[in-house]
Structures are given as structure tokens and as C-alpha cells.
Symmetry: C2
């Protein structure tokens, strides 16, 4: 039952993908409008195949890491278009490498921000341990957050 999601011949309605990836139909149509997706049609209705679904995954991940739809489109195009000759591919390669450098810089930024926040946490924890140890959030609260995240992962487990 989870295995027919794997069957490459399986297709998806717009709603299927919306539910699976928690986006709205409007968003998918918008991505299509912008040239990031081009699902087949059955009459008027859109029919998404596995390739479309994979592209959507890339789009959403791209968004999460802060890329604009235009940038994502460019990358997707590069992925596709590279039968247009070796020169094209060389250009794509360069752009990919640039993106990697940018992402690495961004990751360093994030690590810095995390450190900063951790410093703040430490200070506050020390203060609270001193003043009001009863107010210190304990393992119980923390577990809730972790559980929430794990649930989220479970939801999308088959989507990976």
C-alpha cells in the first residue's frame, strides 16, 4: 500500500500532491505558471507523474533553504536541459558550484546563529537555576517538541 507510491507508473492528482506535501492547489498551479512544473493533462485536469513529484520535492526543499522560485527554476532547467551540448553543461556546472558555495556560507551563518542562541539559553538557564529552578523547562517539555518533529518525519517518511 505504501509500495504503489513507489511504482513509477503511478500518477497523482493535484490534491494527492497537495495533501502529501502540505501545499495548496494554488501553489502548484502557480509553480506551473512560473514554469517549474508542467504536468500532463487529462482533458483539463492535471496529471502528475513521478518526475513531476520529484521536481516538486526539489522545489519545496529549495524554498526551505531560501532560494527564490526563479533560482529554483534555473537549477531545475539546468538539470534537464543538459542535452543541449557540453558548453551548456559546463555553464550549469559553474552555477551549481556557485550555489554550493552560497549554501555553505548560509549554513555557517546558521551555525553562528545557533551558537548565539545557545549562549543566550545558557545564560538564562544559569539565571533561572539560581533564581527559580522550578521554572526551568524540563525533559517533559523538550520531549514534546522532539515528538512533534518525529511525527512530522513519520508523515513524510514515504515521501523521502
Amino acid at each position: 500500500m505504501t509500495s504503489d507510491l513507489r511504482r513509477p507508473e503511478r500518477t497523482f492528482t493535484i490534491r494527492n500532491l497537495c495533501v502529501e506535501f502540505r501545499v495548496t492547489p494554488r501553489a502548484l498551479r502557480f509553480y506551473e505558471d512560473k514554469g517549474l512544473l508542467y504536468p500532463a493533462r487529462e482533458g483539463l485536469n492535471r496529471v502528475y507523474n513521478h518526475r513531476d513529484r520529484a521536481r516538486l520535492q526539489l522545489i519545496l526543499r529549495g524554498k526551505r533553504v531560501g532560494l527564490s522560485l526563479a533560482e529554483i527554476r534555473e537549477i531545475l532547467d539546468l538539470y534537464d536541459e543538459n542535452d543541449g551540448g557540453a558548453a551548456q553543461m559546463a555553464k550549469s556546472l559553474k552555477k551549481f558550484r556557485e550555489r554550493i558555495l552560497a549554501l555553505e556560507a548560509q549554513r555557517d551563518d546558521i551555525d553562528g546563529a545557533i551558537e548565539q542562541l545557545r549562549g543566550g539559553c545558557d545564560r538564562m538557564e544559569r539565571q533561572l537555576t539560581q533564581l527559580r529552578p522550578d521554572l526551568l523547562p524540563r525533559a517533559a517539555d523538550y520531549d514534546q517538541v522532539l515528538r512533534a518533529r518525529l511525527d512530522g518525519v513519520a508523515d513524510n517518511a514515504h515521501a523521502e
Copy 2:
């Protein structure tokens, strides 16, 4: 000469900070409008001190890691406001921890994206080595990018 940047009593004009952090005056006034900054005044003119400058650094880093100005403001407020009692601090602590979890998730996303792009690079490199080894970008190009990044770092070296 770089050392008077360190002197805590030193103040800055709006242009000083704009040049140093490569933002526009409009942006600084906008942040003030939104309550993220509140520099002193000398007549009508804004006068920024070291605390304002530090806040600006945090704002810009927050932006780079994808936080909205509203979220950044919330964090900054939490940093300040924590003389408002231990209860407040406990709430701040919780929010800080949430932010940390979110940032860690985002970093994992970025790592995933980097891996994906690296995979694409590898495939393209193999293809090119096969077909047109002359088109392979070489150390020279790569160094340029690195140099650009190092220059950027050097520009902001005293800002760290």
C-alpha cells in the same frame, strides 16, 4: 584607527553603518519603524551607539538565516526584556530553544541540498571529462570565487 571602532563610547552616523554593513539608509529607518532599532537623536539626526550596531548585526544575520523581521524583533525583545522577571525569562528560554531546533532542521535541509547539487556536479564532471575535458572549469576559476569570498570577509573583519 581600527581600534576606535572598538571604543564603546564611539557613535555612528546612519551612513557609517550603511557603508559598513552594505545596507541602505532606508533599510535602517525601516527597521527602526518596525521597532528593531531605536538609536538616539541629535536634533533630528540619528546617532547609533555600539549597542545599536550590535543589534543591527543580529538583525542582518537573522535575515541571512531566513528569519522575518517580526521573528527577529521578538528575539531581540526577549534578549532585552529579561529583567521583567523570571517567568518572562522562562518563556524566552523556551522560544530560544524552539528557534534552535528550527535552525538545526534548516541546516539539515541545506546539507541535503548541497549533497544533491554535489551529485549533479559529479555527474556533469564525469560527462565533461569524457566529452570535452577542455571545458572543465579549473582551479583558476575556482580561486576567483574563493578570493571574492575572502575579500568580503576581510571587509567585515573588524565588524566581527
